[in-house]
C-alpha cells in the first residue's frame, strides 16, 4: 500500500481523495442507507397515489429530493458515478505495482527472507544432503509447482510458489463491477422497455414505452397468430403461449412460439410473453322502433361506432360475461355509451341472453339486441431492447470469478532449507501467504511431515536400520 506517499498539489489531493478506500466504504454504506428509502416509499406511482397517501408538505419534500423515483434521481446516480470514479482512480493507482509483482521474475530462495519467517518446521536426519536434496525438490515440485533451487552454504535452498496471479482477483471484481454499471448506463441510454397488447390475427409495428407512454417503432412487423393458455387441474395457469410471426417488408420472415421464460429475439429486440386478456366483439342488431327497419353492426370493444341513419354514435365500453342485478344472474351483458344526435349522452345495457329486457330502453330510435358475439384473445407482450446486457453479463461473470479467486485462493510461497555436515542433515520448512495464513500453514506442515517421512525412508535404506 502506498499510504505514506503524500499527495502533492490540489490535483494530487483530489486524486488522493478519489483513491481512498475510506471514500469507497463511505459510498457503499451511503448507497445502502439511501436505497432503503426507495423501498419504504413506493416508487414511480401516479401523482394521485402520493396525494392520497401523504400530506401536502411531505409530498413537496418527496418532489424536492426526487424520492418518488429516487433510483433515477440525479443524486443517487451521482453517488454511483462517484463510486465508479473512486474505483477507477484507485485501481489505476494500484494496478501498476500489483502488476509488477505478478510479472516479476520468480524470487527464489533468499537467506535473509527465509531467516525472517516465523513458525519454521524443522527436523534432523542422518540421510546425507546430496541424497535428500533431489527428493525434496521433487516432492516440493509435485505439491507446489515449479521449484527454484539455490545452492547455499553446506546445502541447498529451495523455493516454490503458487497462485501469484490470484493477487489480481480484486481487480477482476472491480472491473466486473464497473462493466455492470457501464452496461446499465448503456441500456438506459440506448435501450427501451415497451409493451403491446396484440389481438390474435393483428399486427403491430410499434409498442408503447413503459416510462413515457410514447410509441417506439420496431425494426420489423410483429403478428400474433394465436394465443393460448394451458391450465393445471386446479385452475392455475400452467403456460401461456403466443405464436408470433415476424414480417419483414410485408412478407413473413419466420414464425415462433414464445412462452414465459422463452422470449423471441430478433435484431436486438426481445419479445416476452407478459400477460394476456380477451376482448369481445359483438354483432348488434338495431331495430327502428317505428319503421321496423333492421340494421346489423359489428362492434369491437371501446371503439366509437356510428348509429344507423346518422342518429348519433355509440361505443361498447364493457362486456360482462355474467351480469347480476339484485342477486339475479342476467347472463352476458354489453354495456354501451350512447351519444345521440340530440340530447345528452347516456349508458345502456344490452342483455345478450334476455332479449325481452332490451325493450326497456332505446338508443335514439332503435331497440338494440345482440345477435352473436365472440371472444378474441390478445397477448400482452413486453418488448425490450437492451444493448448493455452483454456487458452486464460479462461483468457478472468477472465479479463471480474474481470473488472466488480473491476469497478462496491465495499466493503462497514455500521455503525449504536442506543443509548439514557429514553426520546430520537439517531440514527446515517455512511458508508465507498473502492471505489465509492458517490454511497455508496446514499445507506447509503437511509438506514437512512428508519430507520427514521420506528422509526417514532414505536413512533406513542407507544405514539399514530404523532411524531413532
Amino acid at each position: 500500500m502506498t499510504k505514506n506517499q503524500q499527495p502533492v498539489g490540489p490535483l494530487g489531493r483530489l486524486m488522493g481523495f478519489f483513491a481512498s478506500v475510506k471514500l469507497s466504504i463511505a459510498l457503499l454504506l451511503t448507497l445502502a442507507a439511501t436505497s432503503i428509502v426507495g423501498t419504504v416509499i413506493p416508487q414511480g406511482k401516479t401523482a394521485e397515489f402520493y396525494q392520497q397517501n401523504y400530506s401536502a408538505a411531505f409530498q413537496r419534500f418527496l418532489e424536492a429530493v426526487n424520492l418518488t423515483d429516487m433510483y433515477h434521481s440525479w443524486w443517487f446516480q451521482a453517488l454511483l458515478v462517484l463510486l465508479a470514479v473512486n474505483l477507477m482512480v484507485c485501481s489505476v493507482k494500484r494496478l501498476p505495482s500489483t502488476w509488477k509483482l505478478v510479472r516479476a521474475r520468480p524470487a527464489g530462495f533468499h537467506q535473509g527472507r527465509f531467516s525472517s519467517l516465523k513458525d519454521k518446521e524443522e527436523f534432523e536426519t542422518q540421510a546425507p544432503v546430496n541424497d535428500l536434496a533431489p527428493l525434496v525438490e521433487k516432492t516440493l515440485g509435485r505439491r507446489f509447482g515449479k521449484v527454484k533451487a539455490t545452492p547455499v552454504d553446506q546445502g541447498f535452498g529451495y523455493w516454490a510458489e503458487r497462485g501469484r496471479w490470484t493477487r489480481l482477483g480484486p481487480y477482476v471484481i472491480h472491473l466486473g463491477f464497473l462493466l455492470t454499471l457501464a452496461g446499465g448506463v448503456l441500456g438506459s441510454l440506448y435501450g427501451f422497455t415497451g409493451y403491446v397488447n396484440l389481438p390474435e390475427g393483428e399486427t403491430t409495428e410499434r409498442v408503447s414505452l413503459r416510462d413515457s407512454k410514447d410509441l417506439q417503432p420496431l425494426p420489423f412487423t410483429l403478428r400474433c397468430d394465436r394465443f393460448s393458455v394451458q391450465f393445471y387441474d386446479n385452475g392455475m395457469p400452467k403456460e401461456y403461449t403466443s405464436t408470433l410471426t415476424v414480417l419483414e417488408g410485408g412478407s413473413p420472415a419466420f414464425t415462433q412460439d414464445i412462452e414465459v421464460n422463452h422470449p423471441l429475439r430478433h435484431k436486438g429486440i426481445n419479445v416476452f410473453q407478459s400477460s394476456y386478456g380477451s376482448d369481445t366483439s359483438a354483432v348488434l342488431e338495431f331495430a327502428h322502433a317505428e319503421t321496423g327497419m333492421i340494421y346489423e353492426k359489428e362492434a369491437a370493444s371501446r371503439r366509437m361506432m356510428e348509429l344507423p341513419e346518422g342518429e348519433g354514435r355509440f361505443m361498447v365500453v364493457e362486456f360482462d360475461p355474467s351480469f347480476s342485478h339484485q342477486g339475479m344472474d342476467l347472463g352476458p351483458v354489453f354495456h354501451l355509451h350512447v351519444f345521440p344526435k340530440e340530447g345528452p349522452p347516456f349508458q345502456m345495457s344490452v342483455f345478450a341472453a334476455r332479449p325481452e329486457l332490451n325493450r326497456m330502453r332505446t338508443a335514439g330510435p332503435f331497440h338494440v339486441s345482440a345477435k352473436s358475439w365472440k371472444q378474441t384473445y390478445y397477448t400482452g407482450l413486453q418488448v425490450t431492447k437492451d444493448p448493455g446486457v452483454g456487458m452486464v453479463y460479462t461483468g457478472f461473470i468477472l465479479i463471480i470469478a474474481g470473488c472466488f479467486v480473491t476469497f478462496f485462493l491465495f499466493h503462497g510461497q514455500v521455503f525449504v532449507l536442506v543443509s548439514g555436515g557429514k553426520k546430520k542433515t537439517r531440514v527446515s520448512v517455512a511458508g508465507v501467504a498473502n492471505k489465509n495464513q492458517q490454511g497455508f500453514g496446514i499445507r506447509v506442515h503437511r509438506l514437512a511431515e512428508i519430507l520427514s517421512g521420506q528422509a526417514a525412508d532414505l536413512e533406513k535404506r542407507k544405514t539399514g536400520r530404523e532411524p531413532r
Binding site: G38, T39, N53, N261, H262, I400
Partner: protein
C-alpha cells in the same frame, strides 16, 4: 408418511439438539455436547429426507419441481444447510459450542415454517425456470454462511466479554473465532453474489429486465453493500475483532429483512394498487 409430517418432527429434533448444546455448553459436560451433535445429525438427516420426500411428492402430483419455490420451502432448505454448515465447522474446528448459537437458527426457521402454508402448488409460468432453482439455492447457501458467521460473531463477543466465565471458557480462542467468522462471511458473500446475479439473469429471461429496483431486489443489494463494506474494512483498513463482529450481526439483520421484512413493504404496494 408425508414430508410435512417428517419436517415437523425435525423441528422438535432441532429443538432437542439446541437444548442439549446449551446444556453441554453451560455445564461443561462433553457427554451432553456429544449427544447434541448426534441429535443435530439426526435432524439434518431427517431434514434432508423431508426435503427429498417433498420433491418426490411434487413429482407424484405431476408438478415435479425442486422444493425451493416458496417461503415454507426456503425455510426448510435454510434450516438444513445452516445446521449442516455448523456441523461441518464443528467437526473441522472442534467447536462444540457452535451448535448452541447456530441450532437456534435452524430450529426457529423450522418452527416458523410450520406456521406457513405447506401446500404444494404448481408453479405459475414465470417460476418455471432453472434459473429460479439456481437463484434460490445459491441465495440460501449465502444466508446459511451468514447465519453461521453471525453465530460465530456472537460467540466472539461472549468470549471477549468473559474469557474465563462459565460461558466463555469452553469457547475457542478469540482469534480463531474471528477468523472463522470472516471465512463464513466470505462464503456467504460469494453465494449471495451468485444468488443476486442468477436472480437478475432469471428476471431478464422472464421479463426482459435484469434489474428493476423492486424492494426485494433492492434489499438484497443493500445486504450485499453492507457485507462488501465489511470486507473492505477488513482487507484494506485492517478491521478485526469486535467491530467486525458487530458489523456481521448488523449485516445479518439486513439478511433477515430481505427475507421476511420485505413482504411487509410490498404489502404496502398491494394495498395501494
Amino acid at each position: 408418511m408425508t414430508s410435512s409430517f417428517v419436517l415437523s418432527i425435525v423441528t422438535f429434533v432441532y429443538f432437542g439438539a439446541m437444548c442439549l448444546y446449551w446444556a453441554g455448553w453451560v455445564f461443561h459436560k462433553p457427554v451432553l455436547s456429544r449427544s447434541a451433535t448426534l441429535v443435530a445429525v439426526v435432524g439434518v438427516a431427517g431434514n434432508l429426507a423431508g426435503f427429498g420426500l417433498r420433491w418426490w411428492e411434487s413429482h407424484q402430483m405431476g408438478m415435479g419441481h425442486i422444493p425451493l419455490t416458496n417461503m415454507y420451502e426456503s425455510l426448510v432448505f435454510f434450516a438444513m444447510v445452516t445446521m449442516a454448515v455448523s456441523l461441518v465447522l464443528e467437526r473441522q474446528y472442534r467447536i462444540r459450542a457452535l451448535g448452541a448459537v447456530v441450532a437456534p437458527f435452524a430450529f426457529l426457521a423450522m418452527a416458523y415454517a410450520s406456521l406457513k402454508d405447506a401446500d404444494q402448488v404448481p408453479l405459475v409460468p414465470a417460476l418455471q425456470s432453472n434459473w429460479l432453482t439456481a437463484h434460490v439455492f445459491t441465495a440460501f447457501l449465502g444466508y446459511a454462511g451468514f447465519a453461521a458467521a453471525t453465530g460465530l460473531a456472537v460467540m466472539y463477543l461472549l468470549k471477549k466479554s468473559g474469557p474465563d466465565s462459565g460461558i466463555g471458557r469452553s469457547l475457542p480462542e478469540a482469534p480463531v473465532l474471528d477468523q472463522l467468522m470472516y471465512q463464513n462471511i466470505l462464503l456467504g458473500f460469494l453465494f449471495l453474489t451468485v444468488g443476486i446475479i442468477t436472480g437478475a439473469v432469471w428476471a431478464n429471461s422472464a421479463w426482459g429486465r435484469y434489474w428493476s429496483w423492486d424492494p426485494k431486489e433492492t434489499w438484497s443489494l443493500i445486504t450485499w453493500l453492507i457485507y462488501a463494506a465489511l470486507i473492505h474494512l477488513r482487507l484494506v483498513r485492517g478491521w478485526m475483532g469486535k467491530r467486525t463482529a458487530i458489523f456481521a450481526i448488523v449485516g445479518f439483520a439486513a439478511v433477515l429483512f430481505t427475507w421476511f421484512g420485505v413482504n411487509y413493504l410490498s404489502g404496502l404496494h398491494s394495498y395501494a394498487s
